[in-house]
Amino acid sequence: MNRINQKMQEDKKLLSIYFTAGYPSLNDTVKVIQDLEANGIDMIEIGLPFSDPLADGPTIQNSSTAALKNGMTTNILFEQLKDIRKSVSIPLILMGYFNPMLQYGVEAFCKKCAEIGIDGLIMPDLPLDVYQDEYEAIFKKYDLKNIFLITPQTSDARILQIDAASDAFIYMVSTASVTGSKSGFGEEQTTYFNRIAAMNLKNPQIVGFGINNSSTFKQATTHAKGAIIGSAFIKHLTEHGVATIPEFVKEIR
């Protein structure tokens, strides 16, 4: 069974971390992944940096720019990760924008991910219909789960469509914003979280965007299966360095 599906069956609220590969230093990628697992993180989104990350706020933009300056490329990331399954067993998801994947070749990219032991992909700018028309068969061939996003503005009909097309979890964007914009959840989020919970979707939901401490983590996971922290973790790395990952995780739970 795919590691993501297995993880979703565990009887706990999942804490997932996004970080940008090759940041703060080019060769930090593997160490960050190992340290996150050692500190009890359940799942990791490894960000493949992109020059023009449309859905990201300044924190992740800056980490992507820095990673590219450090020399990160698709090939280098695959090279860094080639032995990752010797030391890491939690689900690993690659998150990036579609153009680098397209240039690598969608099938070659998927094949490489499968060889490494990547379990899923999040490509925010690869929309559902293009995925289904052109790439779904390739993803399936390599048992890569494609993770789709929903937002407070996504209609029920569209959510049902996405639920039907998904087979791992649904990435619930907490608020109408790019990453790292808002912190703290209000009325709108409570309504949205309740609305999604009441839909009884077949896929579990993991909430992301705007989670930065233990209280937002708790709020996000009242109904949802877990939550993803991205910008707050990158900020922590920027300010305190890679050695302080244990402190960061302890703060959250």
Partner: protein, 393 residues
């Protein structure tokens, strides 16, 4: 061959809507409504009226006698520079502000390079009493100061884009991020034939008034609707799309595009996308794109802020790869000299973007009886400082 967008917004293999889910409700709302709204009699009436009484259309089709003599061919200039606000951009912003009103939006955002689209957007927002935020690269804010001042006077807020090359691409990124952050009340007026479907098609249709007029104007002057060539500069490709539109399916009309070569196509400082680009995804559409082997978008360069963009609209990518269009590129120097030449032969100071189209004569020789229509996309008032510096005037 078909050169119009399919229902999903494809021109051949190019186009589509490669957008994050956060933008889906907005883009889908627009996709479902744009064609319906555009054919509503009320909409058409208001659009036509504003183009006539406010923009000053039809724009003249001017026979450039001295330029024609110099290059021994028949040159007509389609005078988009005479439009209110000084460029073709306003054709699209009038259309889109009316669209935004029909969709009950109350806040407008836009990106701008040369500032012409920003000014045209700020203008229609003033006209309609709508809130307006324009994103502009920090470099462009410096090189197009007169337009920044105009936008401010028109009541728009100009927000600098500080990332990447701090030019048009980065301003577009910031506008898209703003739209993600404001999904309910905001309409994004994209300024060129780029972006996710339906934008390239919608912008092309609003700009198609250019070729619609050329047809009857040329009929009056030459006794025929179709010229031998239509020529336009291409940044994202909106003036070109409008100039070509009604000739795309007329095989006897040659379609000529001029891109910005910057300091030379192979200098590493260029914006000649068709020569340097590969298929890729930028700002929500699949098109030709300047990028590294790894799929990172390359920072373009051109002296002209409006052409300083690493992609082209998907229609143009299709015209290039299908061979329907002839693509050339003009360097900074060729463009500047062509701009000065037009000024001194015809008494018309063109925008530096437009000067690239005029540089076609440095690359192609026409026959004496060819009728060549050039899109004079904008006037050069905004560029006086740059011309003065370049020529030490």
């Amino acid at each position: 061959m078909n050169y119009n967008a399919t229902e999903k917004g494809y021109y051949g293999e190019f186009g589509g809507a490669y957008i994050p889910e956060m933008l889906y409700p907005n883009v889908e709302e627009l996709r479902q409504n744009y064609l319906k709204v555009m054919v509503e009699p009320d909409f058409k009436k208001e659009f036509d009226q504003l183009l006539k009484d406010y923009v000053g259309r039809p724009s003249p089709l001017y026979f450039a006698k001295r330029l024609s003599e110099k290059y021994n061919t028949k040159v007509y200039l389609k005078r988009e520079d005479l439009n209110h606000t000084g460029a073709h951009k306003v054709n699209n912003t009038i259309g889109q502000i009316l669209m935004a009103k029909r969709l009950k939006k109350t806040r407008i955002i836009a990106e701008t390079g040369a500032g012409q689209h920003g000014v045209a957007t700020a203008t229609v927002c003033a006209l309609m009493g709508m809130k307006c935020v324009v994103y502009m690269g920090e470099i462009d804010i410096a090189r197009q100061a007169p337009n920044v001042a105009r936008m401010k006077m028109l009541g728009a807020e100009v927000r600098p884009a500080l990332s990447g090359s701090r030019t048009l691409k980065d301003a577009t990124n910031e506008a898209i991020r703003d739209w993600i952050n404001n999904p309910v009340d905001t309409h994004y007026i994209i300024g060129s034939a780029i972006g996710p479907h339906p934008y390239p098609d919608m912008v092309t249709r609003f700009q198609s008034i250019i070729s619609e007029e050329i047809k009857w104007q040329l009929k009056e002057k030459e006794g025929r609707e179709n010229p031998d060539y239509v020529v336009a500069c291409i940044g994202g490709g909106s003036n070109a799309a409008g100039t070509y539109y009604h000739f795309l399916h007329e095989p006897e009309v040659g379609i000529i595009a001029v891109e910005a070569a910057g300091k030379g196509v192979n200098s590493g400082e260029s914006a000649a996308t068709s020569a340097l680009g590969k298929e890729g995804v930028i700002h929500g559409c699949k098109t030709l794109l300047m990028q590294t082997n790894d799929g990172q978008i390359t920072e373009p360069y051109s002296i002209s802020a409006g052409l300083d963009y690493p992609g082209v609209g998907p229609l143009h990518a299709h015209l290039y790869t299908s061979g329907r269009g002839e693509f050339y590129s003009a360097t900074d120097d060729e463009a500047m000299n062509s701009g000065l030449e037009l000024t001194q032969l015809e008494g018309i100071i063109p925008a530096i973007e437009t000067s690239h189209a005029l540089a076609i004569f440095k690359h192609k020789t026409f026959k004496p009886d060819d009728v060549v229509v050039i899109s004079l996309s904008g006037r050069g008032d905004k560029d006086l400082d740059n011309y003065i510096k370049y020529f030490n005037l």
